[in-house]
């Protein structure tokens, strides 16, 4: 029936002969069974592209948590709901009749990579970066010192961080790092509590932050204003945050006005905004707002952490000792050099926001410890035919949705090309999930399907409605599984 329509209705004018040929060859090719490990943006965008351009690809997405979407659910700040709209696109992909979601399955524990290789033509590793870079300084493990990853997980309802119980009883918090995650945390710590009440922030975090005494947040970075990693939207939000006053030291920005005009546009606009906040004397409403603000936040440059200064009883953080740095070189690749000088700053809360890190998943999958990524070329894992990767585990843990989107498409293209050129041998059919199902059953593992997630979703939204929130996230994995299997 559809083929009749294809003959009768002309294709879009100007269609590429090559694209036509490619689609033809893939239409008549045998089934391509693909498994994707990790259900964040990388996994879903790679799946979306594969399903669209291969007419018989079957894509199974495995996820260790009962719930999908990775950092879109657990990383994006609660007060950035528009960024989470992408979940609708991912949901549409999951609903595709050749796509399946299997949550609550941990690859490397419940199922091995080797077993997946037997069952699928291609494996795509999209499991991201679940660890964080460490400072490597004395006192890093004292009470009151947390990695940004743990703190963000705590306020975003990541099950493993629900018992973090951070103490927000001191006035000054120090965040090490000048990226968007650092700004997110500063903003969540200093936002008027009423605006947080309407978000999907985890209930326990809302309660703790409501009782917080934190009034001053300092973001400390080891290089200068031209090397900050955060972006303009987040900086603007911070500058405009109600009831707060920015603390920017004009001397940090000496000589920058002259350089700014020659910078590439994104860096130029960002630096201009910082200069304005640091050097321009506000007037009228803005001056009024700053004068009456009860909280403050600041950027400190050219400082590296040397050690955490403990409290008298030796158990908690009381301050931080910082080295004073100078810069060598210019622009993005300028390097910091520690001088002899040090500076001590008092604080009762310290968060290190210096980057995420990936872990190797299995000895059989190549991993570059130094770079913290799976060595690959355009998403094809080196020296490992049939293995691919996309997202942070492929490129490193930076970038926003658009970067991961293009990256996912790039890896999918590599898979499609390999299928087309018979680099992937699809002549032998593979068992796919049927084989996994039997193994999981034997091992007492109960996968959560996408409709299982939708049951969890409905419960979260219903619970949120009672509290005037978009959702109230379930925090316990067991509870998630129970709801999913109802």
């Amino acid at each position: 029936m559809w083929r009749l329509f294809t003959r009768v209705c002309p294709r879009a004018r100007g269609s590429e002969a090559f694209a036509g040929l490619r689609e033809l060859s893939l239409k008549t090719s045998p089934e391509l069974k693909v498994c994707i490990i990790g259900s964040g943006p990388a996994g879903f965008y790679t799946a979306q592209h594969l399903l669209k351009y291969h007419k018989s690809a079957v894509v199974d997405i495995y996820e260790k948590l009962p719930v999908p979407f990775g950092l879109v659910r657990f990383g994006v700040a609660p007060d950035h709901p528009e960024v989470k709209n992408v979940i609708n696109a991912f949901t549409q992909t999951a609903h595709h009749d050749r796509c399946s979601f299997y949550g609550n399955v941990t690859i490397g524990k419940d199922i091995s990579i080797e077993e997946l290789k037997q069952a699928y033509h291609a494996l795509i590793l999209t499991y991201g970066a679940e660890a964080n870079r460490t400072l490597g300084i004395p006192g890093e493990n004292l009470l009151g010192v947390y990695s940004a990853k743990m703190f963000v997980g705590w306020y975003n309802g990541l099950p493993e961080n629900r018992n973090l119980n951070p103490e927000l009883s001191s006035e000054t918090a120090i965040i090490l790092g000048h990226g968007n995650v650092a700004l997110d945390i500063a903003r969540i710590l200093l936002s008027p509590i009423d605006s947080l009440r309407k978000t999907d922030i985890a209930a326990h975090a809302l309660e703790t932050i409501a009782a917080s005494k934190v009034k001053r947040v300092l973001l400390v970075g080891r290089r200068g204003p031209l090397q900050v990693a955060f972006t303009i939207k987040e900086l603007r939000e911070m500058i405009n945050l109600p009831d707060t006053c920015p603390l920017l030291n004009p001397s940090d920005f000496e000589g920058l006005k002259q350089i700014v005009k020659d910078l590439p546009r994104p860096r130029k606009r960002l630096t201009e905004l910082m200069l304005k906040a640091a050097l321009e004397k506000p007037s009228g409403e803005e001056a009024e707002r700053r004068a009456t603000a009860s909280k403050e936040w600041g950027l400190q440059f050219l400082r590296s952490p040397l050690e955490v200064i403990p409290s008298n009883d030796g158990k908690r953080v009381a301050g931080i000792r910082l080295s004073v740095n100078k810069l060598e070189g210019l622009g993005e690749s300028a390097k910091f050099v520690q001088t002899e000088d040090v500076e001590d700053v008092e604080c009762g809360l310290m968060l290190s926001s210096i980057g995420y890190k990936s872990h190797p998943i299995d000895p059989s999958v190549p991993f570059d410890q130094q770079q913290g990524i799976i060595p690959n070329n355009l998403g094809r894992v080196l020296h490992a035919p049939g293995l691919y990767c996309s997202g942070w585990v492929k490129r490193g843990p930076t970038g926003v949705i658009v970067t991961t989107m293009h990256d996912g498409f790039e890896t999918a293209e590599s898979v499609l090309e390999d299928a087309r050129l018979r680099v992937l041998d699809v002549s032998a059919s593979k068992g796919g999930y049927q084989i996994m199902e039997a193994l999981l059953k034997q091992r007492g593992v109960h996968p959560v399907s996408f409709s299982g997630w939708e049951r969890i979703d409905n419960v979260e939204v219903a619970n949120g409605e009672k509290a005037g929130k978009p959702r109230e996230k379930l925090l316990d994995v067991q509870e998630m599984i129970e709801v999913a299997n109802q």
Partner: protein, 190 residues
């Protein structure tokens, strides 16, 4: 994409009779994105109480026309996709370029659904029509800063609303090259 062109042809037949999207119709597996966006129905988008954007209202015409008997409303636009293929489409005054792209099966993503929170709908506007567009609001400029391969004629597709003045406009989807950074830039560790 045989199925997609078949659907286009089928809808061409329906166009002659009255047709409309039933709100809340939901999505079916394999349904194209444009159709999903036209009836947000069961989609829950939490509101934050802040104004998300101060640019043109992206929802003012989510519904690109199903049938346009009145040709004075028609605006012809050409999309140039990532492989360089030219795809002429007929929009109408008030249409949002992002949704127009979806309606016509063009691979333009809109991750944040036109709320100025991403740059996935980044397009290049041809010189002749670029100046006819109203200036971008600050929020759009901020998001454009994140777009890869930014050019002087870059805009976000979700902020382009068709007017008669934009007749003949060409919107090019940026080529994302294989090594992603087209200028050979490699981020330097420090």
């Amino acid at each position: 994409m045989a199925a997609a062109s078949a659907r286009r042809g089928f809808r061409g037949v329906l166009r002659l009779t009255a047709s409309h999207w039933a709100p809340g119709a939901g999505t079916r597996p394999g349904q194209r994105r444009g159709e999903r966006l036209l009836d947000p129905g069961p989609v829950r988008t939490p509101t934050s109480g802040r104004t998300l954007h101060s640019g043109p209202n992206p929802h003012q015409c989510e519904n690109t026309s199903q049938e346009t008997e009145d040709s004075t409303d028609v605006v012809n636009v050409t999309f140039i996709d990532r492989s360089g293929r030219r795809i002429p489409v007929k929009g109408k005054v008030g249409d949002n370029a992002l949704y127009l792209a979806h309606e016509n099966g063009i691979d333009l993503e809109g991750a944040c659904e036109a709320s100025l929170a991403c740059s996935t709908c980044h397009v290049y506007v041809n010189e002749e029509h670029f100046d006819k567009l109203p200036e971008a609001v600050e929020r759009e400029e901020d998001m454009l800063d994140m777009a890869p391969v930014l050019q002087l004629n870059s805009r976000l597709g979700c902020q382009i609303i068709l007017t008669k003045e934009l007749e003949g406009m060409e919107l090019t989807l940026p080529k994302i090259t294989r090594n992603f950074y087209v200028d050979g830039h490699v981020p330097k560790p420090h």
